[in-house]
Subunit: 393 residues, 2 copies
């Protein structure tokens, strides 16, 4: 049994970002991981640009009546140069005409009977966005490894990157084991329960930016388990097995993994929930987890270990962040030989409260949870006001 | 000009959740808004269930050698009753046999030469998950209005809800205006810029759980604007226009909106960025925003006003949460007559830092931002250590 931090390092160090890449239309790139650096092909602004609707003129003339010599919408080229006591009626986004060094805001001007303009204030900002002040041509605007959000799509649009290179989504095989399981469509008999783990993992895989590949419920025999693992190793980048990894007589998953050629890196972690978590690699480019059969355990270990592995495979930097928030209530536990992960809510006034939690089969504890908080080995209590790292879920 | 809080209330009160619903397979329901309450069709656990791999026996016998009378995998029905100094070898998830009141963990047992089992500790927990302790048959497990996450998919799986009712995704029309705009595929001439607003809004719409419907760049004429708004009002639940809403001579969008039958509710908000934001309704079931042409302004007002409207239309409760985090650096501004929204990052030690920000055309300020923080009217400074509401983006 190893510590969580060791397990995390082992998984991260094993992960080789050998995934292929593809080009997609930038509109379809939301949530993908950028696989190239993007540079600007233009200066921004591309010219001295009016930041306001108003009148472009010379600062030294703003006390005087100004004659309108041109009306300039955005998108047009100015035809005239602005001279003494002259102005150009200008729209936001239009090019500042030669000669002008400021734009007086339309809100603070009076139109005179002769059609001239009089500014009603004593001073003005320039109200000009200057050539290239935001971005210079050739400048790096987006870095490789970024998870693409709407604001990055705006940047790609502005620099004309219409088909960015992104990492392929890893394929993640999901294999459920356990003869007590039936698929959710069926009504379980007395000794059965529905398979909630498989669908939950599939949704977690989607949320991580990868593609789930479900293999159904495998019969609890050595032959069926060997066969499905062998097939899945050939078809996926990551494989998640649930169940069959603890100490029961029918829990032969580790033995079968080895038989299929998997190099097992660890067999259990000093965490709660999720102690009997197995991790191994196959031919240095396929990663396999044996996750506990309990839905809270498998949910938690997916978020803690599998999701960061998927991010690493796609070269995603930085990894999923945690946020420090103070506890709003005390949390105590009797045993402290493992690192615990507990579901919590965040209150409107920004405090962390543990939710009612009966243990690793209690999926309902996560229905209203906003995040997961950890408590270290040897620590029995989280105090009110103590800052804790919240992993949002 | 109204305050932001008033604008928010006007939009929220105008929003009528009249959207239709549909049933989807629960595996495909990630991120959708649940449109029905879901009740459990079973008790959970459905029987007294072993929480461990071990031996089911009577607590009063744990000091004695126990005779194994049966091996019981999960998914099987027990055949025997456990009597004095007897036990059943039991797997996690299996039914506790009659007579037994605890499970001793396999880790703390010795196998004796005669095949009997001897427990090596003095006491034991019951290690039983009792019938219906987590959920009772008929109990409410998921509430209408929830945004569906992986853990909710697990709950649906466990109670057999394979085709949940969800809200239809609102259709959101996006109309870009501005003769200075060209689509990102093109290289802009001197007076032009690429349209970054349209693609950014489309991505924001997707992230909000709605369907974007892009109308391209509309020519800056009254006729073209009237025509595209009229068409869009017939085809969408929400319409977003960008540009053409400030005080320039070509900014006739409000006038045209009224002509198409839109009831304008407000024309500007005391915020920065995003002051010239218009909101109106059409026939009480269509909502139209005129957003500023600057990409930071439109981005921000989408997150502040449009996203909560979309949530409301889908009956999503609770709305997008903010989190209270302390400032790690001071922030000051010269003018305070408007409520400001500024991009920030959250540091590893849980503090908020403003990012460099040149104003509403500076989309690059948002590239590395983790969130948006507001500063109230009349307030010129955010102090170090001051708790601020962070809207994560």
């Amino acid at each position: 049994m190893i510590k969580f931090e060791e397990a995390f390092e082992i998984v991260q160090n094993a992960a080789k970002p050998t995934l292929k890449t593809e080009r997609v239309h930038f509109i379809d790139s939301l949530g993908r991981i950028l696989a190239e650096d993007i540079f600007s092909d233009i200066n921004m602004p591309p010219f001295n640009k009016s930041a306001m609707d108003g009148f472009a003129c010379r600062k030294q003339d703003i006390g005087n009546e100004l004659k309108i010599i041109e009306v300039l919408p955005a998108g047009s080229l100015p035809k005239n140069k602005v001279g003494e006591n002259q102005c150009v009626k200008i729209m936001t986004g239009a090019i500042i005409p030669e000669g002008a060094d400021c734009v007086i805001m339309v809100e603070y001007t009076d139109e005179m009977p002769d059609g001239n303009v009089q500014y009603t204030k004593k001073s003005t900002n320039s109200n000009i966005c200057y050539f290239a002040e935001d971005i210079k041509k050739g400048e790096l605007v987006l870095s490789k490894g970024l998870e693409i959000k709407p604001q990055h799509i705006a940047v790609m649009a502005s620099v004309g990157t219409v088909r960015p290179l992104v990492s392929l989504k890893p394929r993640v095989g999901i294999i459920s084991t356990g003869d007590e399981l039936v698929e959710p469509e069926r009504t379980p008999s007395l000794s059965q329960i529905r398979n909630s783990n498989g669908p939950q993992l599939a949704a977690q895989v989607v949320r991580s930016g990868a593609i789930p590949n479900y293999y159904g419920i495998t019969e609890d025999t050595r032959e069926a388990t060997f066969s499905v693992i062998t097939q899945a190793l050939n078809e996926n980048d990551v494989i998640l097995l649930t169940g069959g990894v603890s100490m029961g007589a029918f829990d032969f998953v580790p033995e079968i993994m080895i038989k299929t050629g998997v190099d097992i890196k660890f067999r259990s972690i000093a965490v709660q929930p999720g102690k009997p978590t197995i991790f191994g690699t196959f031919q240095n480019n396929t990663y396999i987890f044996g996750l506990p059969g309990n839905p809270v355990s498998s949910y938690t270990q997916f978020e803690l270990l599998v999701r960061p592995l998927i991010s690493r495979l796609m070269n995603n930097e930085p990894l999923h962040k945690t946020i420090k928030i103070p506890m709003g209530a005390e949390y105590t536990r009797r045993k402290s030989e493992r690192k615990s992960f507990i579901p919590i809510t965040i209150s409107a006034d920004g405090k962390v409260y543990p939710v009612e939690y009966h243990g690793s089969a209690h999926i309902h504890s996560y229905v209203l949870a906003d995040g997961i908080v950890s408590i270290e080995i040897g620590k029995e209590k989280l105090e009110i006001g103590e800052l804790v790292d919240v992993r949002q879920i």
